[in-house]
Symmetry: C2
Subunit: 159 residues, 2 copies
Amino acid sequence: MHPKLRRLAVTAAAAALATASLAALAQQAPKPEQLIKWRQSAFQVVAWNAGRIKASLDGGYNKDEVIRASNAIAAIAGSGLGGLFAPGTEQGKGWHDTAAKPELFQDGAKAAERAGEFNKEAAELAKVAANGDPAAVKAQFAKLNRTCKGCHDDFRRID
Amino acid sequence: MHPKLRRLAVTAAAAALATASLAALAQQAPKPEQLIKWRQSAFQVVAWNAGRIKASLDGGYNKDEVIRASNAIAAIAGSGLGGLFAPGTEQGKGWHDTAAKPELFQDGAKAAERAGEFNKEAAELAKVAANGDPAAVKAQFAKLNRTCKGCHDDFRRID
């Protein structure tokens, strides 16, 4: 084969491989609707567990229940939720239309800061819960709730 | 007041209190639709994180990603998901119609056994992931997946 032809063939083969890889990647990458569904699910699981902690604080403290619920919130807060707010998910429907404001995607630094606060206070709650002092849990749970509210105020639409 | 009348008044007051307490309890207790929504959400978050672990094992192992994802699965598996399958949630719609088979509610012992296996293998995966050996993670992830499949075969409808 002529060297020029061989180069062309190699280039064409490389291009075909790259296209195939991109296609495989595109196939693997979850669709925006799936990402939105997952993030809505993650916050639902957080809400479930926050409700269990609140119920325990409001009456009949159950240490094991609070530990389990706090661990679940901490693990979700620390799971890398940012990946579920990938480009392409600014709008769209998961279980329902996304409630994320455009600002969340426009101000990545602030969003990361808010996520970091949530992660920090959730990890702290898991530690405090393990010690089993309801008053300390109540105080830390309030701190955690403030990070939820802060982020919602900035980045969640109220319809 | 005549003793008989007093007894009657006391009984009536106690009955009124009991009714009020039950009403308050009913108000606090999440509705079946909410419980179904939460359990569907919890398994979605498990699926998200299982997908991340699989992607890491399939190419370009990311230790931190696998740790975060494994921790999230372990915390959810250990969170007490059984409470989301409370009586009254045998049928109904959360995000969608429940896929739980009647057998799940009829054979509580078997369901608890399946949940225990899931919890055990998920906790083990979180430990193995922390060590960062991809081959060990792959083997333990396969064990975890078998507990998912086992439970789905027994208790999840395929529509």
